[in-house]
Point group: C2
Chain length 399, copies 2
């Protein structure tokens, strides 16, 4: 068996992680220290071993990401070249994926969450504030967003404990502290910043790929009843801050070149600082599963505002970017219930419960439920780029 | 001249930084590396030199803070003991304050900003939303707050560039991108977390001093016109994220034992998780100055919710605390214009401009203005505990 055919069988083990993808993560084997690797077929390429560069012998990607796009591309080319010409170099640095534990790939600096799906904003408003104008006057002018809690971003596989919070009292009664009865998910794409920017400067939308290293899948866990009582006038706080789950593999922007699609139709031209020469709209298919059963398949191509526009907006006031910043697209959704990104929308606020194959019904999540968000896109040469999965299981609140 | 009398003259050089205070900061001298020190009179005690412990030879306080309250108290006792019994040990580790540069004392993890002054919330609502109910139903039940941007927290003395943002168009016109015309300050107290907490656990209000290391003065720069257009429904974002200034010296909670006062009158008992055995209401006098002229003197004793209640609320949903977390009290204010904490309130939204001694008037801040927030409290044995100052000068927006 030649080295080359061994690489072939590794790649065949999971075709979504082929040479056109090469996503980055942080792994460990047994009790060994965490280090940086690339998902390759059914294995992980140990980058510290492959390159002998100790920037990969670290427990997060931050130091490597801060080295910039030229370095990211050089490493990607080095791996792609070795796959073709020096497979033995690859093979001796591979670890089976089944043998590794995956960890949070970045030290998250600031976490921002946007609200950039027109369909989600419209659907949610119709359910939560029927009769009111669905979109605020700002919505079509700028990517509405808010800061979330960086310290509670967790990697896929981390159990999520049902949060408690103040729930509105009925008939004028005072609120009570109780576990949420309306635990939901929002299916999002997350952008990871590799290269920061100076304070009191703004970053142009067209410089997106100079700053953003790659994307992850992101589950924005949301307690609708906590949010309903707390959010006026300063926005969501405890309804979201208990946990945010991301997928373990950061797919580099270079892997998504073939997933770029024209921007969606907008009914007005954005202000100049929000214009892109070439749109960063991405055609990424998502699958949302509950207990392993697909309940929805959103696609990111419909998002009204792109990651590049979100980045430009976030910095137009002079706020700096830092290595490790994470920002979420907002719920990816649709006017079609089969492609909506939250139970709020899929069940119309609980009024149209979901029936699972075993006959159980759901409005919101129950203890023991397992939520899984998967993503994939078109890659070079007809390949598939897998974004992997973000998974979380709901655990009952501590008494 | 004995060693003892030399310490006396150092302390006499700035009595607010006496043995009852001992606040921590990060300093450098010339091109030397940053390290941790304590403000002592008109000098800085170089803790790496004084203790020979390399946890102080670091560019932030985070590692020391994470060691916990017992360690904080032991070091404080060691310095206080040396001041009395071994003054030569102190003297040989002192650097004149005039010779040092001061830096951001902590690596800020998450930044949360509360809204806990009843007077500020009432005043602001009356100006911004006249005719509406001033307080939402949540306000008296929980400390309303939101996450801010940790990456743009800066140390006192950092110039602040006037931010640009989308300003609402008049008569139905579209918004335009322009430098804010309503740049304001909010005078706050900031709490710095030393010891983190586990994810998916809550922290009791009475454990405040086990987790919170100390306090700083905090200027929450605010662009009122950017906020007015962007904030619905997810809260303030770019209106606040361009900069937050903190004072360089973190005053330990132990220095504030004599500043604790009874909680303000509340018209209802808080839910059990928000009750404190002994209130962490603090009597801290603030002075807000513009061009060196005092324009207001808020006091923190009137805050409706204490730092301990804010911490308990922030974690009741299972969100963890991390070393370096910073949370702001919200604007400290009053129904009396002489003690209000924002220009919005002091000038009634610009309708009652402020006249400075040189005859100039202000609604909001102009380029070149210098804002200074000073704070002090009562310490042990009749001493004064200075919180130092947080200063920022406004620079015109880049063209």
């Amino acid at each position: 068996v030649s080295g080359d055919s061994d690489v072939g069988s590794v790649l065949a083990g999971d075709p979504g992680f082929g040479p056109a993808n090469l996503p980055y993560g942080v792994f460990s084997v047994g009790q060994s220290a965490r280090r940086v690797g690339i998902a390759l077929g059914d294995s992980v390429l140990d980058l510290a071993a492959f390159t002998n560069d100790d920037v990969f012998a670290r427990p997060s990607l931050n130091d490597f990401m801060s080295q910039g796009r030229e370095r990211w591309r050089a490493l990607r080319a080095q791996v792609q070249n070795a796959l073709v010409n020096y497979p033995a170099d690859i093979l001796r640095s591979l670890v089976p994926r089944a043998d590794v534990s995956l960890h949070l790939p970045v030290d998250v600096a600031d976490f921002v969450d946007f609200f950039s799906s027109l369909e989600h904003a419209t659907n949610a408003a119709a359910i939560l504030r029927p009769g009111e104008t669905p979109l605020q006057p700002n919505w079509r002018e700028l990517p509405v967003g808010y800061h979330g809690r960086a310290g509670t971003v967790v990697v896929s596989g981390t159990d999520v404990v049902r949060p408690a919070g103040q729930l509105r009292g009925e008939h004028g009664a005072r609120p009570s502290l109780a576990p949420t009865r309306a635990l939901d998910v929002e299916t999002e794409l997350g952008f990871v910043v590799g290269v920061g920017s100076g304070h009191f400067t703004s970053v142009a939308a067209d410089d997106f790929a100079e700053h953003v290293f790659g994307v992850v899948l992101l589950i924005d866990w949301s307690a609708r009843d906590i949010q309903a009582f707390e959010y006026r006038p300063l926005g969501p706080f405890l309804a979201k801050s208990f946990a945010t789950t991301i997928s373990p593999w950061i797919v580099p922007l270079d892997a998504l070149a073939h997933a770029r699609v024209p921007a969606p139709q907008r009914d007005r031209e954005p202000l100049p600082y929000l214009r892109e020469t070439d749109s960063w709209s991405l055609d990424i298919d998502m699958a949302l599963r509950l207990q392993g059963v697909e309940i929805s398949h959103p696609n990111t191509a419909s998002l009204y505002w792109t990651g590049a526009q979100q980045m430009a907006h976030m910095t137009v006031n002079g706020a700096s970017l830092r290595t490790g910043d994470l920002f979420g697209s907002g719920t990816v959704s649709s006017f079609d219930a089969a492609a909506q990104g939250s139970l709020l929308e899929i069940t119309s606020g609980g009024s149209r419960p979901l029936t699972l194959p075993d006959g159980e019904t759901r409005d919101y999540l129950r203890d023991g439920d397992t939520v899984e968000l998967e993503g994939s896109a078109r890659g070079a040469d007809g390949s598939t780029i897998s974004l992997g999965t973000a998974v979380g299981r709901i655990i009952g609140a501590a008494v």
